[in-house]
């Protein structure tokens, strides 16, 4: 039998060594697998790890890809810290994008960028409303939020599909399931850099991330609200003893995380797509769960975790495009990376004891 025994103290050195070792192991096993499958291993590793950093516009693409992951991950962090398992960020992302899209398309001639404040708020409301369903069911009827939030993802997917094929379809789209393009006022522009022009797809939405991370850090570490979330997550009885209201904390974290997922949806669509289509998310809501945990449920950690995951995702795209390596193979590699990162983190905190017996 294997038992995990908590270490008395986490060694400072290992906090640095463990992630490096994890990466070394990942590279080793990655090399083995790529060789075994008949791909040039060094070339593959180059595509996955190095090519995303090889040009400045590619680096900015990492940020673009990481942007929704970090925003959603930060919201999920609040849920997971309070032991509320919101698995449905994907659905909240879609519903945020959809409500914002509906408002954007209702004002086809609007040009002022202040309109973005309205669409982003609408995105927050849309995502929050979608998360309010599991919140109210959990607090009033004690229904498991994991199932409800997850199933609502599929409802949201089918709903947006219905909307863009039906009520909001552009008559000029030649039968494609697409809405009309957003008005100018609802689009998030790319950032122009003087003398260079645009850097890949880098857009103003990224500013929201740089605003969100410090605010989230202050909220979690310095406010009574963050303290309440922490106490409820680690000792629900103690939260009762302190007079914290369990239900209002649960509802608040679900509304916040749903709202943030919705905002991520608005930013993604307004900056990168410019109209509604059946597929707006590409799994950001699910990947963000990994980002939240890989970032150890801390805002700064999530910032880095979002960048790491985005890098590997883009690297996998590159490997597919230049070398024809199928997505499943690079997906396997992502799995190996996560496995070793999480193992490294676990072994920092616990030592393993082998013992006989059943």
């Amino acid at each position: 039998m294997i038992t995990f025994i908590p270490r008395d103290k986490v060694s400072k050195n290992w906090i640095i060594i463990a992630p490096i070792l994890s990466i070394v192991f990942t590279i080793f096993f990655g090399l083995l697998i790529f060789t075994f499958l008949g791909y040039n291993p060094l070339e593959t590793l180059y595509q996955i790890f190095v090519s995303p950093f090889s040009r400045i516009d590619r680096i900015s693409d990492i940020l673009v890809k990481a942007c929704p992951l970090i925003i959603i991950g930060t919201g999920l962090m609040l849920c997971f810290k309070s032991n509320v398992w919101n698995i449905g960020a994907e659905g909240q992302f879609i519903m945020g994008a959809l409500l914002a899209g509906f408002i954007a398309l209702s004002f086809p001639n609007i040009e002022t960028k202040f309109f973005l404040l309205i669409t982003i708020s609408a995105g927050f409301v849309g995502g929050a409303l979608w998360a309010f369903i599991p919140a109210i069911l959990k607090t009033k009827l004690n229904v498991n939020e994991i199932l409800v939030s997850l199933m609502l993802v599929y409802v949201a997917m089918l709903f947006i599909d219905f909307i863009v094929r039906g009520p909001l379809r552009d008559p000029m789209s030649f039968g494609f399931p697409l809405s009309k393009p957003y008005p100018e006022g609802a689009l998030i522009n790319k950032i122009p850099f003087p003398g260079i022009g645009f850097l890949g797809q880098l857009h103003y939405g990224i500013l929201f991330v740089f605003l969100l991370v410090p605010v989230a850090w202050i909220f979690v570490n310095k406010t009574l609200g963050g303290f309440k979330i922490n106490v409820l997550g680690s000792a629900p009885q103690a939260a009762k003893f302190a007079g914290f209201k369990r239900n209002s904390i649960i509802i608040t974290v679900l509304l916040l995380s749903g709202g943030l997922a919705g905002v991520a949806g608005v930013i993604e669509v307004s900056a990168n797509i410019g109209q509604l289509q059946p597929e707006v998310s590409f799994g950001y809501g699910f990947t963000a769960i990994i980002v939240a945990f890989l970032g150890r449920l801390s805002p700064v950690g999530i910032l880095f975790a979002g960048i790491i995951i985005a890098t590997v995702k883009l690297g996998a795209d590159n490997a597919q495009m230049t070398m024809g390596i199928p997505k499943v193979v690079t997906g396997l590699f992502e799995g190996i990376l996560l496995f070793f990162l999480l193992t490294g983190e676990t072994l920092q905190k616990y030592k393993i004891k082998w013992s006989e017996g059943k």
Binding site: K222, L224, G226, A235, Q237, A238, K240, F241, A242, G357
Partner: protein, 518 residues
Amino acid sequence: MAKKELEILLKATKISKSFGDFVANQNIDISIAKGQIHALLGENGAGKSTLVKIFYGVLQPDSGLIEINNQKVSITSPNVARKNGIGMVFQHFSLFPALTVAENILIALDKKIKFNKVVNEITKLSKEWELFVDPLKLVSELSVGEKQRVEIIRCLMQNPSLLIMDEPTSVLTPQEIKNLFKILKRLASSGCSILYISHKLEEIIELADEVTILKSGKSIASINAKKTTTNFLAETMVGKKITELKKAIKSKSKKIAFEVKNLDKLKDHEFGISLTNINLQVNYGEILGVAGIAGNGQVELMEILSGEINCEDNDQILLDKIPIGTTNINERRKLGIETIPEERTFHATVPNLTLSENTFLTYFFKYSNTKSWITNLLNNPQNSLDESKKIIKNNDVRCPETNPLASQLSGGNLQKFILGRSLANNPKVAIFSQPTWGVDIGAATAIRQKLLDLSQSGKAVILISQDLEEIFELSNKICVINEGVLSEIFDVREITATDVGLLMGGKNRENQQMEPIK
């Protein structure tokens, strides 16, 4: 029982076991004769549980030798222990409440036996040993005493030659204890050895043939239990004279501080207890002891008294004759009612937070409306750090570092911190549940003295405790909770431990003509 030439069943030599830097057992020697009732005595943390877990194969010793019937054995798991004829009844029962007695026994058996055969076997054993239980009853419907009988039957099914019992009486009424002792004595005379763990001295003298005393992980004496006294045992166990408590002579005030009237509360989950028509009152300068076996509604009562759960009716709880039934826990703290729940970690404190943060846990309400709104929103570590330092200093809380995590403190020190944190709010009414449960004798004495001091300084105290000795030692008035029903309140001078025991078991007092006081 053989007097001389005792045949040795189990002999352990130089058993040592450490957890990290902490030495739980150090060169312990013990030998248990066949058919002997051997008591293992020691304070909390003396290493009793570690030693018996080694015998039962739950833990492995770092070094040392165990022989059974003169043959060296290595007990690597409870399975191996059972094959060697060792059975154990744990302090906390390991039964599934949703299964029947027979099903519970069936799943614990190593051999595969048909269900009907198990039922027959249980019926046979329970008749033979007067361990009466219905094999087809659900465990959730059993009383604590019955659950213990199920555990004993489960051990007897394996025909043990050694039965280990870990603090079996801590959950029983005096009457149930008497019964248990009868059974244990019969078992021993039939040749089954019993290793009996306890820190209750009278019990040991009544029951045991021999007693081994552990202190700080070492075996310091093995003595004939029939030729010793409780005083001698106590002094050997503690290693020093126990300081006597200074008890108040009598309560002076007749002013009612805190009252509960006609309170009903339905249980909110299947294995909870419904409270039925609770009435109690406590005067200033008085300690009201609420006795009762664990699991009879103490937790539910505490939730209502503390304000974690509100009453339906504001008039159901009165403070100084003013209704406060629907106020929440923090409003009650502001009114001067301080409570300490039974669970020290995860309820009274959060183990992975520091002491200053744990101070903030019940202290932050003081900021409300005192400073600007922005301060009210913030987690205020500096003030709570200062406050926690005061609590640590005033209550002799021994910490490994200046602001440790709550989980780094020993049980006794953590409880001193929790008590100090409550007292720092200078309460009028203090309601404490099991304040000395699982605490070493030094800290327990300090805590009890604090409670006495509190009542002597004119505060009202309600003490909910399973420890009858503690109840009688501290209280001015006593009542008993049984299955969610609270008995009348008696003056401590007018009720005996036997009466309280009967009430704890749900029976009326033997002596009915005694008048309850008003």
